[in-house]
């Protein structure tokens, strides 16, 4: 009834090439961004910002980066945590070593450094694919774990191996309250989501998808696999690197290499698989599922227990959290192997006909 495109005619090429061709979609996305930027800061408390929304936004951005590589270009990676670490440590070093380095420039340079390493570790993708490539990218993970733990230079010779950042400041705007941090992250995420959406619609995105669907055929129609694969690695690592810088600078404030361990790489890959491969929206769903659900369960279960007069022990809650979280992953993968994004698009499809299905 509300969601139908009847009567929306494209009268120019520009209109035909818009990101959101359906007017309702356009209004929904703009409404969502406006809600996130204007209404959310007034509605939620500090805990929501610091513990839920900021990690959700930053990991969405990282998942988006991984999705470009895994979902769009079909190159499985288990090194995403490493590229986050490179982004964070590179940005840290640019900040510490160059006086007066602006924060945003340092973060973007962190992304660029990650992209450079992404290209280097993407080279094996020219020869190996699938699971073998995943194993090759694991090398990036272990190399970075090792380097940031052992080489004192990267951590500015901090004795404990933990680095921390001083004040965050952008053009005189000092980012210290949770709301400001949230808005800062939100700006990054919105911008990068639009970039990602556009990249995937552009020539380069189509090359990636061609490589993903069948690389031999893609080569035959004139797509250079080296350029396509390495550019996917570079762009993906750039996204992930910027997310890493945000994770370290804005969310953690001080961190150690364990913050970007192999667990993080797996987590990001799972976000993409559960959220939906090859879907920008899916990255956000996946991040929400993996970041928010465990915390929600952890708080909801004691609450649920208290409704029935049962006190659940802390350990019990934690075990139950793992059990339920695990079963939900299996449940979603069985009912919808294409991820939560696919559920979303099915829902949209149904809405077109609602309330009068055939």
């Amino acid at each position: 009834m509300f969601y139908r495109e009847n009567g929306q005619f494209k009268t120019s090429y520009a209109a035909d090439q818009e990101i959101f061709t359906i007017t309702q979609d356009k209004w929904f996305v703009w409404g969502l961004i406006a809600f996130a930027a204007l209404a959310v800061p007034m509605l939620v408390d500090e805990y929501m910002f610091r513990a839920i929304l900021i990690p959700f936004l930053v990991l969405s951005l990282a998942a988006l980066g991984v999705n470009l590589l895994v979902g769009y270009c079909g190159q499985i990676t288990l090194g995403a945590g490493a590229f986050m670490a490179i982004g964070a440590y590179a940005a840290y070093n640019f900040m510490v070593r160059i006086d007066g380095m602006p924060l945003i420039v340092a973060m973007l340079l962190g992304g660029v450094s990650a992209a450079a390493f992404g290209i280097v570790f993407g080279i094996p993708s020219l020869r190996v694919r699938g699971l073998y490539l995943a194993v090759a990218t694991l090398a990036a993970q272990f190399l970075c774990d090792w380097a940031f733990l052992r080489i004192g230079w990267f951590t500015n010779n901090s004795s404990s191996g933990s680095v921390s950042v001083a004040k965050l400041e952008v053009l005189g705007w000092i980012i210290d309250s949770p709301v400001e941090k949230y808005l800062f992250c939100l700006a990054f995420v919105v911008l990068f989501a639009f970039i990602a959406k556009n990249l995937t619609r552009a020539a380069i995105g189509r090359q990636w998808m061609a490589i993903r669907d069948m690389d031999v055929a893609a080569e035959v129609i004139g797509i250079r696999p080296m350029f396509a694969k390495l550019s996917a690695f570079a762009v993906s690592s750039f996204f992930v690197g910027v997310a890493g810088a945000l994770w370290g600078f804005v969310h953690l404030g001080s961190w150690e290499p364990a913050a970007f361990s192999v667990d993080r790489s797996f987590q990001l890959l799972f976000m993409v698989i559960i959220g939906g491969m090859g879907s920008v929206m899916g990255s956000f769903f996946g991040a929400a599922f993996i970041v928010i659900l465990p915390i929600f369960l952890n708080q909801f279960l004691p609450f649920l227990g208290s409704l029935f007069g049962v006190t659940v022990s802390t350990a019990g809650v934690s075990h139950a959290e793992f059990i339920i979280f695990g079963s939900l992953i299996i449940f979603f993968l069985i009912v919808e192997p294409h991820g939560l994004a696919r559920l979303w698009s099915i829902a949209k499809q149904k809405l077109r006909l609602w309330p009068f299905p055939h």
């Binding site: 990690p55 404990s160 191996g161 001083a166 953690l252 001080s254």
Partner: protein, 443 residues
Amino acid sequence: MKFRTLALAAAIASVGLSSAAFSTAAQAQAQEQFFPVLVYRTGAYAANGNPWANGYVDYLKLVNAQGGINGVQLSYEECEFGYATDRGVECYERLKGKNATLFQSLSTGVTFALTEKATVDKIPLVTAGYGRSESQDGTVFTWNFPLLGSYWVGADVAIQHIGKQMGGLDKLKGKKIALVYHDSPFGKEPIPLLEKRAEMHGFQLQLLPVAHPGVEQKATWLQIRRERPDHVLLWGWGVMNSTAIKEAQATGYPREKMLGIWWAGAEPDVKDVGAGAKGYSALTLQHGAEPDSKVVKDMLAMVHDKGQGTGPKDEVGSVLYMRGLISAMLGVEGVRQAQERYGKGQVMTGEQVRWGLENINLDQGKLDAMGFAGVMRPVQTSCTDHMGSSWVRIHSWTGSKWEFSSDWYQADDKVLRPMVLDAASKYAEEKGIQRRTAEQCAQ
């Protein structure tokens, strides 16, 4: 398919609703002194995290059973974080909104992550026996309290003890000491002090990191077998400790030559190895296993016999249980001290508790009255010294229990103090913090 979307929508809606419900519930408990309890009862470190948490919570129950702090009852809430830094920070954010008195995270990683947040939120961080060593300097680290001892104290005493065993610190010249450490901020903390001591006495320090969680140590111990260091310092936690002792047994490294930090000297670390760990020694944070102390007897009578005990009864008095208990006691005494100044029988804010923690003065008489006779020595904190005491004893595993095997040691202030001041100044400079002056301290 529709049902699924509905279920999904319902799930999302309930996330929003319940978070609203939690925040309203938080405001209801203003009349009690609220102690947030960060615990890890699951995960790789649960065996060690559990007794600590039980001791901590039991002591809060004991204080309540004895009438609270000048009549103020204590409330508490546990938050499980599994020794993961990001979940620990989430717990902190969750519990700080409920009028948290002070935080004790039992994780050096979480302490590092919270050090800057606590300053902004004005909540003291008590890290009894862990955390950042330089935070002893209270003029820079206003909100950190590494009470009873830092890792630099531990490292200093460890070298003193080894020197004493050899018949003098000068005998250390040319000797080899290996540090087997948990590869995290926790394990790396002692390195600067050990390096300094190595320079002073001319021994060779060998650094052998072990990756989290520490079950894979074959390579480390092969290296020890090859290099044969004269002593091994073990800076481990959780399953890493028992693995290290088993590996030492397997490689034939004498357990008598091994000395653990106080986090590597509890029952879970050696019980599985049993007789194989005989002779292994560890530092103690003043106390060891204290099943005969008065506080433990009170605990059994007033809490456990009433069916209020948090954990199993036979663990009461074990090393880590006592560590948790003493940690809670120090926090409670901080609140009590704050009440002396800001009003007896009232609920204290984080800022007031901070003053209390900075002015703790537990002399032997007070400790004995609370039932800590023979368990610990006096603690007195000040603005410049947030540690309050640096007494350490060594205990050894007899094959069935821990027994004290040394006299009291104290960290050498001539070594420790300049390092603390240097590191704190460096931190202050990086963060743009002004040292508190004497007048600010007196406030």
